[in-house]
Symmetry: D2
Subunit: 305 residues, 4 copies
């Protein structure tokens, strides 16, 4: 990659019909809905895509279907995070074979590695990957972050194209941004949508934001306002994103509530099934009703097309 | 199971020759070494066995080889912990086909479940398991514990035979022990070997202790001393176990140091290779020398046969 | 001190009539109630005594009144934990003047010190203290523990007489016990009452347990059973202590629930007022009723005199 | 206060000559140095001011001296955080008597309160305070944050004038900013200087940043650039602030390194003594030399006058 990947790259939901069965129609519809919002890429098999909860056969099928559906209209990034090295490599090869543009990897997340262990692991992994790698910094779920010393090391690896930072820590993000000034092709994207506007105002390249499954155009507009330095509009659009967060992600009390909320909202829009992979389970009626109400309010607030 | 499983059930190392290759000779030797120490069972594909770091093909091969080697001399327990439901079920079936006696499961460990989600997941999983299930409480690695309300629920599930508690929290352990008084067939084992004597003194059923890969007879003797209420001897043997911890687990600074130390010690004894699955890597020479020195001192302290 | 301080040293409640006013009658009654249970010492101005929440004038008054009431029947230990060095020193002098036997200190608890900073601080503090010092390990509240390297250092300081460990971590406790074998006069006491029996079974010297404000004889009996190696009785009495925990400390949902519960129970027994120092507030009626019910059940379970 | 307090309000160091002795000359010099940088207020007895480590007599003396030195040129805010209610009230009265403009309070920081307890405590405290109150959100040190529900409550208290947020969590900051839109007189300031530019870009009112003790004009210029929407300049100045952080706060390995670094830098500038209150201790020669080198590099980078 000669240029950073800029813009909104939604972490796509994985529409499911059952525990080991894709919702193929839903997948096609959801993909078109997102692309119609003007997004700049698509990221599958991430946290929002329930990647780690899916069996390997289904992950392969998903990769193939999405690449076929997108047909090169935007870059497709595929999550290959795994606790087992050989399974990450296998997924990376399948992704390349299917035509994906890049792979995305968080640190192995069972026994926590030290940073030297993590760098050695990456050094062993990189030659096995047929496509460029994006790091995925997600310490709340992996326990292990990519510490700044490891980011500094990664900037010297031509096969590492950038990082998605989901730490929610803007001090870290800004420091990583400072380091990346030496690699003008490097991409730094933010995960938490609450931080989209300010991370772009500070020089970040865009967002991998779950809410862009539902309202892709809102996230694209926020990115563009911040990118162009329109402070008033950026703050105003960011407040609408905060409304999405407030209405859709706070129904239910466990961390999975965010994904359940997005999946339920997608189902309310008629895009796809809200079946969740174990150990999670779709919202029951009372929660679903609150999401429906939230969506009704958001229609007015977001005014998306 | 009509009776609790009592005694020492070592969490066996997985001897490896390469990234996706078992060390078959080492595996046979290590198995015989452990059984010769008088242990009461064998637990494979746990944390010490680097379960989550191994590819699925290799996991299957390991299950088959160990069951064949043990030939029913002691019960074999197989770890099936996974973030993907369908992969846990597949492993459980392979374990049953190979002749294993029970399976062991920690909570899915990527996105943290709430306890109601965890119970619903278990309720869906239990009918798919052909062998009894032991819970594996390991909050430092899974983030999610089996909280006491979930233990209470588990006591009502006939297919759940007990729990291995690796929390290191004796307040929790004692409370779980109190709850389990209603199920006289239920097993409660402790993971951290530093707590072996006292957990048995308080009524626990035994230990799943990594050091028993190296010195199985020491752990069996400690269990027996505590079981028979011989306080003086139990304290004295427990201090020897503390020496094992001090000499073998504190070389290297990352959490993986414990497994690296045990694997290196097994290699020093000529039992098996010390190759580690990614993202971890065997000790280099300086660390290996410290383990060798530790083993020399331990020979005198432990006086094992 | 030539001998370790062994037995039960309750962390006494501070009976209050108002925000800056002691309940003098309650204090006398409570002191006599506790001493009548056969305890081996009294610890004031600890966590259960709401030490950090009390103004300095009131702390001084409390020290004087308790020393006068106890009149040397058992040793009195006085908490001098403070974020300000000069205030700790002032309290230590007032305690000595009033006739207290020792002082107790947790690490300064605002900005967390590193261990070298903590040792240097202790080295500066010790010459200012007219009485022996007990360390108070309470990492959940101070953030900073006395790490084992600091315990090792403390064993070389003749003015440090021992440690109360409230970490709840038996691995740490056992290791501290191992280190202390070089100082036969050193005391190691456990804070969490859930761990009283086993810590004494493993060689600990006793407990500083909040429930001994209410049922002092139960804690003394548990200590004695464990001390004499009567496993069956120790387990059985420890289960009664667990009932105290279950009935009195789980009403209300914040960490302060433990102190509120003990203070409310003392008030139910007619011992003293349940007024709490800010930022905490006594139980309202619904909670008080649950404590009353708990006490009714405990009367049968504990069968104390 | 009719208007929010905007701009840079440095958390002033407390120059000390000894454990209970102010460095009066240093205090006067430092005050003038800071004011000469064009700051908009002064905050004493905060974390950077080592408030909790100082004896009460010395705190009173500090309040009086600073108010006398400032003579109304900028508002003076006084930290009254304490674990004891009565001591906070006493400090607040002394501050008012000395002519301070407002008081600043973090949650009592020993036993963690629940949010309802915290609100009840604040409700009892507010009538005792003769000056407006700023909340001080500092969860890494107090354990307890002001959760958003408590911020919402605080917005209904006319005596609460705003909040300094030192959480470092921009998601929280943005949400608090959204809530505060209902109170146009409310102030929201950011603590961590790494977040100064972006918090102002998002609508925040300014910063309470430790580095402004040394380079006040740099922080004022960064605030102004962000306030006026000059993105390029705001990013550039923010990078210089990051250099201050990198050069001055990373010498030494404990959390106190930040304060030690600022105090050492002030001493290098000849402003005041670098004596630290216990349990902390000024940098020794090797660390001091690194700070001197850092200051030499910063002179070029910051180009302050």
């Amino acid at each position: 990659m000669k240029q950073p990947l800029t813009g909104i790259i939604p972490p796509m939901l994985t529409p499911l019909r059952g525990i080991d069965e894709l919702d193929g129609d839903g997948l096609a519809k959801l993909t078109e809905h997102i692309l119609a919002g003007g997004v700049h890429g698509l990221f599958i098999l991430g946290t929002t895509g329930e990647g780690p909860s899916l069996g390997y056969r289904l992950r392969r099928e998903l990769i193939e279907r999405v690449c076929r559906q997108v047909q090169g209209r935007v870059p497709v990034l595929v999550g290959i995070t795994d606790t087992a090295f050989v399974e990450s490599v296998a997924l990376a090869r399948q992704a390349a074979d299917a035509g994906a543009d890049a792979v995305v990897l968080a640190p192995p997340y069972y026994m926590p590695e030290g940073q030297p262990e993590l760098r050695e692991y990456l050094a062993h992994l990189l030659p096995e990957l047929p496509r460029p790698l994006f790091l995925y910094n997600m310490p709340p779920l992996t326990k292990v972050p990519f510490e700044l010393e490891t980011v500094r090391w990664a900037l010297d690896q031509p096969r590492i194209a950038g990082m998605k930072d989901s730490s929610g820590n803007m001090t870290y993000f800004n420091q990583a941004l400072g380091l990346a000034r030496q690699r003008p092709d490097w991409t730094l994207l933010t995960g938490p949508e609450e931080l989209l506007a300010e991370s772009v105002l500070m020089g970040g390249h865009g967002g991998v934001n779950g809410g862009a499954n539902i309202f892709p155009a809102l996230y694209v507009a926020t990115f563009e306002a911040a990118r162009s330095g329109d402070l008033i509009r950026a703050r105003e659009l960011q407040r609408r994103i905060q409304s999405v967060v407030d209405k859709l992600y706070r129904v239910g009390q466990h961390p999975s509530a965010v994904i359940k909320g997005i999946k339920c909202a997608a189902s309310c829009l008629g895009l796809c099934s809200d079946f969740m992979a174990e150990p999670f389970h779709r919202f029951r009626d009372p929660e679903r009703r609150r999401i429906e109400e939230g969506m009704a309010e958001l229609r007015a607030i977001v005014a998306w097309k």
